[in-house]
């Protein structure tokens, strides 16, 4: 028995790496480790004296769980360093209806997080929302422009046309891919025609992205994608990607439609 504690609490004389407490079913502390005594003032022998008032309900409500042999919860404890200190508590019951608790201090591990949050908050205070909103608006306009640069045109139930306008950039193909794949997915198209007649500059990244789109369209339709109006230079670049079986070049939309309707 410890001299300081004239109650039935006993000191558990093992070197445990974390504070440990054992309670009886009424919440009276019957056993404590050395670290538990270092962390908490145990002059009163009931657990409620070392748990923050607004955590006590939580302890009562969640301390027993039929489904889990060990329960885990965060509680604010009255520690020797501060009247509200966060701990992660692991609790389990034995046959004699005694609860063993291991208490892991959490404030330290949250410190890093808090510092990160603080710096975010500082940045927030400096954020110029006006600029921010303008940027958002611009991004929306740009995305809309991209969408318009690759409209999706259903020609018949089975045939659709995607004419590309302007430069082929990665961002543009990204936006177009999104809307095209959705439309193709929703319909039952067999022939997908992509018209390059109105295309200007072609960026490498743009073509890479385009090849991905081609392959996806091919998988979705099971058919060869028809490319129209492509300039020799762009055709050469595309040919580097070994796309036989995925796409074919056609001269013009007129030509494709003619062969289609004379079939």
């Amino acid at each position: 028995m410890n001299k300081q504690n004239p109650n039935k609490m006993q000191h558990f004389n093992e070197q445990l790496p974390l504070p440990f407490l054992k309670l009886d079913k009424d919440g009276t502390i019957i056993l404590y480790s050395t670290l538990a005594m270092e962390h908490f003032d145990l002059s009163e022998d009931h657990i409620k004296h070392i748990v923050d008032n607004e955590s006590y309900e939580k302890l009562l409500r969640y301390s027993s769980n039929d489904k889990a042999p060990v329960v885990r919860m965060e509680l604010n404890m009255k520690s020797r360093t501060s009247p509200v200190t966060l701990y992660e508590v692991y609790l389990t019951w034995d046959n004699e209806l005694h609860a063993s608790m291991i208490l892991l201090p959490k404030d330290q591990s949250n410190m890093q997080l808090i510092e990160k949050m603080m710096s975010l908050q500082k940045r927030l205070a400096e954020t110029d929302f006006e600029l921010y909103e303008q940027r958002e608006e611009l991004e929306q306009i740009l995305s809309r422009l991209h969408e318009l640069s690759g409209p999706f045109i259903p020609l018949t139930d089975k045939m659709c046309l995607i004419p590309l306008f302007g430069d082929v950039t990665e961002e543009k193909i990204n936006v177009i891919s999104h809307s095209c794949l959705q439309s193709v997915f929703a319909g039952e198209y067999e022939d997908v025609l992509i018209d390059f007649t109105a295309v200007g500059n072609v960026e490498d990244k743009g073509i890479e992205q385009f090849v991905r789109l081609l392959k996806t369209l091919h998988v979705m339709t099971g058919k060869i994608i028809k490319i129209i109006g492509i300039k020799p230079h762009t055709a050469k670049t595309l040919n580097k990607y070994a796309l036989e079986g995925f796409m074919e070049f056609n001269q013009s939309l007129k030509q494709v439609l003619q062969t289609h309707f004379t079939k």
Partner: protein
């Protein structure tokens, strides 16, 4: 229909985009009502989730920054540069107090009414506030307190502020005002305000009174 749980969900995901979008999809309320009826209940729900062992304090941190973003952006979006009334107020949390979201709302609402404000946020030691208050001479100082153990400090702040050559009116708010009687920690002249509605009422009353005083 607005659902605080849904907003709380976006806060917990740290999803500023969805949180902002969700608020803007709702019926457009005043800044005060958006803070009072939408954001406050969402943060309280987060408190409930912690109490029911669903989330951890680490989750609350993420939710807090996300909420902070929304609170700040709302203030920016809804504050059409108001007519200045040439009155000054400063806002702070007591030393050690980290719960500043409510105070930030109050600061924006004062700005909306044309006040010139200084917002210090969390954890401001009393020496600092005394120095600034003496130099800047605000008409109102707003204090926020959420943790019970900080109450003794409240008394100290109020006493010290009352000793200034031009003592400001001290208003006190925060979670504890709803739960406890804070009068023992205040002076006779301290104004305790339970929520944002009470705050607006008091502010309206105070502004009429100060106009009348000026007219006399």
């Amino acid at each position: 229909m607005y659902c605080p749980k849904e907003l709380a969900g976006y806060f917990l995901e740290g999803n500023t985009v969805k949180a902002w979008k969700y608020i803007n999809e709702q019926e457009k309320l005043t800044l005060l009502d958006t803070y009072h009826a939408m954001i406050t209940p969402a943060m309280q729900h987060i408190g409930y989730l912690w109490e029911t062992n669903e989330i951890s304090v680490a989750d609350e941190h993420l939710a807090t920054v996300t909420c902070d973003y929304v609170v700040s952006r709302l203030a920016h979006a809804r504050l059409a540069s108001p007519e200045k009334n040439n009155r000054k107020a400063m806002f702070l949390c007591l030393e050690g107090e980290q719960h500043y979201i409510g105070l930030k709302m109050v600061n924006s609402l004062f700005e909306e009414m044309g006040w010139d404000t200084k917002y210090y946020g969390a954890n401001l030691p009393v020496e600092y506030i005394l120095k600034t208050a003496e130099a800047w001479q605000p008409a109102v100082v707003g204090l926020s307190v959420s943790i019970v153990y900080h109450l003794p400090k409240l008394k100290e702040y109020i006493e010290e502020l009352s000793k200034l050559p031009n003592p400001p009116v001290v208003i006190v708010g925060g979670r504890l005002t709803e739960k406890y009687d804070l009068k023992p920690y205040c002076s006779e002249n301290t104004i305790i305000l339970k929520d944002l509605k009470e705050m607006r009422e008091w502010l309206n009353y105070e502004q009429t009174k100060s106009k009348q005083d000026a007219a006399l």
